[in-house]
């Protein structure tokens, strides 16, 4: 068991020199410092010219970009082709039977019955009032009742006497 006071510990610590860094670290430091010294030793005029060239390049790029943007905005009005009529896209008429179900054949509706013309009505009126009425009934779809029949004769007492005497019926 060993005991030291603080001063003695410090003295012993001082005596313990840490290990030297690898020589490669010193070489790296030397190279890095040489590069930084080389950069710092550039003549001021050289640095000024270099910065000016860099600034000019940046301004040129910015100006070119602005010009391109301006031209792109003006292109349809100033230099573009004349306005063309708007042509709508024509959709080709499709074949009605293209996608038809082969089991289902659509048949066209029958044409409605044509109404009689005024000329036909006039002719029918002149020819026969009955034909005119029949023509109107067909056009309207109504079945007009047929002509009323003669009412049955009413047998009177005299008719009965005559029937009994003559055995005639009306």
């Amino acid at each position: 068991m060993t005991g030291f006071d603080s001063d003695e510990i410090e003295q012993r610590l001082h005596a313990m020199r840490p290990a030297e860094p690898d020589p490669a670290v010193r070489r790296r430091v030397r190279e890095s410092l040489a590069r930084s010294t080389e950069d710092a030793s550039q003549p001021s005029t050289y640095r000024l010219v270099r910065r000016s060239l860099a600034l000019a390049a940046v301004l040129a790029v910015a100006g070119l970009a602005a010009l391109l943007i301006q031209r792109s905005h003006k292109a349809p009005v100033a230099e573009g082709p004349p306005d063309q009529p708007v042509v709508e896209h024509q959709v080709p008429a499709s074949d009605p039977n293209e996608h038809a179900d082969p089991l289902f054949v659509e048949r066209p509706d029958p044409p409605p019955s044509a109404p009689p013309t005024l000329l036909a009505l006039d002719r029918a009126w002149r020819d026969s009032p009955q034909a005119f009425n029949d023509l109107l009934d067909r056009a309207s779809g109504l079945n007009r009742p047929s002509q009323p029949t003669e009412p049955d004769p009413i047998l009177t007492v005299a008719d009965a006497r005559r029937w009994i005497q003559n055995e005639e019926l009306p």
Binding site: M1, T2, G3, F4, D5, S6, I9, E10, R12, L13, H14, A15, M16, R17, P18, A19, E20, P21, D22, A24, V25, R26, R28, V29, R30, S32, L33, S36, T37
Partner: protein, 169 residues
């Protein structure tokens, strides 16, 4: 060899071993500590004429470089830390390389028992030769906190050395 080259080599010779040990406290491998030392030293040399205390700034620059690397590799660091807790490290700390006597061997082992923050202060104070004010500048800590932590570190070393050597290993 010009004057500037001589100057940076003088700084490197004076602080190189301590800087490497310092960076090693904050990184998970010696290679990362060397990278952090390189980055911090180059940054220090470029800025040395603009700072009030070059020595404090040198350690501060290396510290920040080491912390940046530790943060960028935090996931891997956590995995390595877990593995390190499960088994003893294959690579011994730099202060274990050559123990001249039993007492020094005990002291080197006792350094391993310190908290990372305490070990950081010991490295800067003992091997970096920084004052408490410079350490406070380098670590962004109040000077009183630095002094208290350093005293606590020495006390911990004192107690660790008082233990039987076999309990430290």
């Amino acid at each position: 060899m010009d004057q500037a080259d001589t100057d940076w080599q003088a700084w490197y010779d004076r602080h190189g071993p301590a800087l490497l040990l310092f960076a090693r406290q904050l990184t998970r491998s010696l290679a990362k500590a060397e990278d952090a030392m390189h980055d911090g030293f180059v940054r220090f040399w470029k800025q040395r004429e603009r700072v009030d205390d070059p020595a404090a700034y040198l350690y501060r620059a290396v510290r920040h470089a080491a912390l940046d690397r530790a943060r960028s590799d935090s996931r891997r660091a956590r995995r390595e830390l877990k593995l390190a807790r499960e088994r003893p490290p294959a690579e011994p700390p730099p202060w274990r390389h050559a123990a001249r006597d039993e007492a020094e061997a005990q002291l080197r082992s006792a350094l391993d028992t310190l908290e990372p923050g305490q070990r950081e202060l010991v490295v800067m104070r003992v091997w970096g030769g920084l004052t408490f004010t410079q350490i406070a500048t380098a670590t962004d800590l109040p000077r009183s906190t630095v002094a208290a932590r350093y005293a606590s570190a020495l006390n911990a070393l004192q107690q660790a050395i008082a233990l039987p050597a076999e309990e430290l290993l």
